[in-house]
Structures are given as C-alpha cells and as structure tokens.
Subunit: 196 residues, 2 copies
Amino acid sequence: MKLLKEEILSKGIVLSDGVLKVDSFLNHQINPILSLEMGKEFVKRFHSEDPNTKVLTIESSGIAPAFTTALELGVELVFARKKKSLTMNDNVYTADVYSFTKQETNTITVSKDFITESDRVLIIDDFLANGQAALGLAQIVEQAGGTVSGIGIVIEKSFQPGRQVLLDAGYKVESLARIESLKNNEVRFVDETVLV
Amino acid sequence: MKLLKEEILSKGIVLSDGVLKVDSFLNHQINPILSLEMGKEFVKRFHSEDPNTKVLTIESSGIAPAFTTALELGVELVFARKKKSLTMNDNVYTADVYSFTKQETNTITVSKDFITESDRVLIIDDFLANGQAALGLAQIVEQAGGTVSGIGIVIEKSFQPGRQVLLDAGYKVESLARIESLKNNEVRFVDETVLV
C-alpha cells in the first residue's frame, strides 16, 4: 500500500535492526485518514463470496485499523483484552500469547458472546513479527467454532518468522507493508529497491 | 444522544447499582456506525471559532469514539498509554490516575512529540465516573502548554462526582448519555423518565 509505505519512510524511525517506531501515525498518534485507507485496502484484499461477519483485533494499536475495516465491511469489531476487564465474567475464550520481545506470556480474552460458530472473522493487527498474537486470535475464533477468513497486518517484519508461521497454520495473510530489512538504519521493503 | 440511549437500554446490562456493562457496543465489541455518530455529535457539541487541533484519549475503550471524532474534525488523535510501550523513550508527559474501582494508581503517558503548546485538544473518553482519567489527560495537555478545549464523554455516571470535579477544574464537559441512576436494575437517564 503506497500511502502507508510513504508514511513509513517519512515518519517511521528505525530504532535498531529489529525495531521500527511508528508512534506518529499508528501506535500512539493515529492518522485517521490513513487508517480509513487501510480499512478500505483490507476489505479489497479479503474480498470473497462468503462475506466476513466480524473483525477481531487485540488492544490497543490494532483497534484503529480494525475499526476502519469493520466500518467498510459494515460489521462489528471485537478487540481482545490483554487483561480481563472488571465487567467480564467467566464466559470467555482465552489464548496464551508469548511475546518474544518482552519474554512473557499474556493471556488474551474474548467474551463468548461476541464470536460464534456462524462467524467468518477477519483478524486485523498492527504488526506481524513472530505471529503469536495473530495465532492467539485465530485460536479464539476456532474455539468459538467460527472461521478465520484471513489475517490482515498493517506492517509485517518479513525478516521475522510470523508470516510463515501463519501460512503454515493454513491462514491467508495480507500485509499492507512488508519490511525486508531495517539494517543500516534503512527501511527496505520486500520486492522493492532501497527507497531511503 | 438518542441513538446511544436506545443502545444502552436495549444492550446495556446493569451489573449493580454502580456498574453498567456495555461490552456489546462500546468496551469490547464496537458498533462502528454508532461510533461514527458519536464522533459527529462530539464535533457538533464542541464546535467553536478556535478549531480543535488534536483529540486525546486513553487506551483502549476511548480509542473508537476518539477516532471518529478526530476523523470528523480532520485532525490526528493520540491515545495515552497506561503502560509505557517498548519504543517510548523518556521524552514523555505523565500523569497519575487513581482508580477508585481498582484502588490503584496508574501512570498514564503521552510522548512530548504529539501535544504542543499550539494545540487545542479535545479530550474524549468512554466513561466518566470520578473524573480522574479525564483530569490526568487534561494535566498532560497543560504540561505541554496546550489548551483543553473540552472533555467529551460517551457515558456519564451522573450519580458519581466526576462531572462536578471537571467543571470545578474549569473544563467544559459534554456527555452523550447521562445516567442518573442504575438502581433496581433500571437505567434512568438525567432529565428523563424511566425508560426501561
């Protein structure tokens, strides 16, 4: 997605060979217009004859692109909680998500009320690195007996194994920007020449 | 806001005299159409000659209504973090927010990059109870030298002191639904007769 790649090149900050900071438009400050375009692009890429009935993401940075995708699809979105909220009861699906960066396991939670076996669920997240968060979301959809129609990612770190992990598990993956390398303080996209 | 009140009456669940669960359209599952309408309503209520330059909220349930407000205003939104993210450095504003419900203090964080002294900031949050989260957000705007143009709340628990706390601090407050009481398992709105 051209607009996103341009934003990454102009506003992203390479913190190390593995870390791209995009706080200025995705993870902390959000550009609503760019988010709207992301939603439209996800809907285009996951168009199928069987319509998606729900969008699922995880708090907090996934919410904006998942919201615009749900808006474009005309369906509701659900965000998994990293911590059970006070009003949640035990009627929930959970999945354990290991974070390689933080070296800790978090249990993500979704109420059983909001994903059912008749749902075709499009999973949206902001980053794909090792694929553990997306896998956890997919497990929750499958616990509910629903179908994962695909996994849409805003920024994929293609030098990490997440994409392959998700493909091996049988999911369709679409990433709006695929980063091949962050070496030498340069963002290099997959199938692209060096742009900065 | 009529549409919101109807949604509260049809889908909200009174858990106790003090707790209304609105997980099905605001805090866990999100109705994008209703959120869009909330954004439009906030923009209408906070219309002024000095345009708002930014919307500020706090993760996670504030993000959707803040997003639609920012979209309608044509400005960016910033969500305060409850926990510092890995890519955040020390260039941040912080405020301590005490939660009466959880009886704990959390430090909320906003990067100094995203709120400046030229900003007129509209603060949006999902719930108003004791007003501590909104006050913390307002403190952050003021640390940055910016101006708080107003505080917009989706659901105000008018039987708790938050609204008065914010008014006493000099802020303009607009709530899309004001709940006078949750007693006897009934949602009673301010200035309304019993509707359920």
